[in-house]
Amino acid sequence: MEKLYYTPREVAHALAISDDAVLDLIHRGDLPALRISPRIIRIPIAAFELWRAGFVPRRRRVSIHAADHGAEIGVGERLPEEAPALRR
């Protein structure tokens, strides 16, 4: 099984800083992490490696364009008591 995340302690070890310093980076929103429960935080390895390499996502320019197709949400899904007239 491929390992997908580090614990804050593993990151602290990798960066040679304290556990508290890692938590501070997370709480400041600097280091990407996910809170799994009130006491469990995980740092995705892929996100950590990008962060360590200094990766900053490029801010995209957004415009409005005719949709190639509508957002197909739930298409093909079997609805309870199927009522075809309700489907788009």
């Binding site: 099984m1 491929e2 997908l4 995340y5 990407p32 996910l34 799994i36 995980r42 995705p44 390895i45 892929a46 996100a47 490696e49 990008l50 962060w51 990766f55 996502p57 490029r58 801010r59 995209r60 320019r61 957004v62 415009s63 409005i64 364009h65 005719a66 949709a67 190639d68 509508g70 957002a71 197909e72 949400i73 739930g74 899904e77 079997r78 609805l79 309870p80 008591e81 009522a83 309700l86 489907r87």
Partner: protein, 164 residues
Amino acid sequence: MITASTDELHAYLADLIETVERYGATVLPPNDAYEVYLGRDGTDLVVDLATRLPTGPRSRPVDLVLRERWRPIETGRMALAEYGYELRDHQLDYRRALHRHDVEHFVRSFDVAVHEHCEATMGHETCAHYAGEPVAGAIDGFFRLYREWLAGARPDCSALRCLG
């Protein structure tokens, strides 16, 4: 009800892409370019963002797709009318999805506006629709599904409440 102005939706899509990329997801075409689009479908605006989660070179892909339909409610503002956030893990062969669509139908049938899907083996449903908590937009949907993927195991669908 989640609402936004058109300008806010522009920033929302840019924020969403920054977030998923920060967490190592790859944005797939056509939104992998510098210029990205909100789709216009009649008077609705749609978000349709396909991403691939970071896996090893020998792993099968893990796709996380975020789709939304925003509908005008008053001049200059839109409401999040429908969403479909989908995780398909082809490595572990499971599917999770968080849905809001056909709301009148689901309210009439189950008295809920939103539902979820859970296939511990992709393509094999033991229940067509599960109860779910409303999702507060695509970033929230991304994190909920990313968290499931990060667990590194097939979901326990039996822990969810089957609606029918």
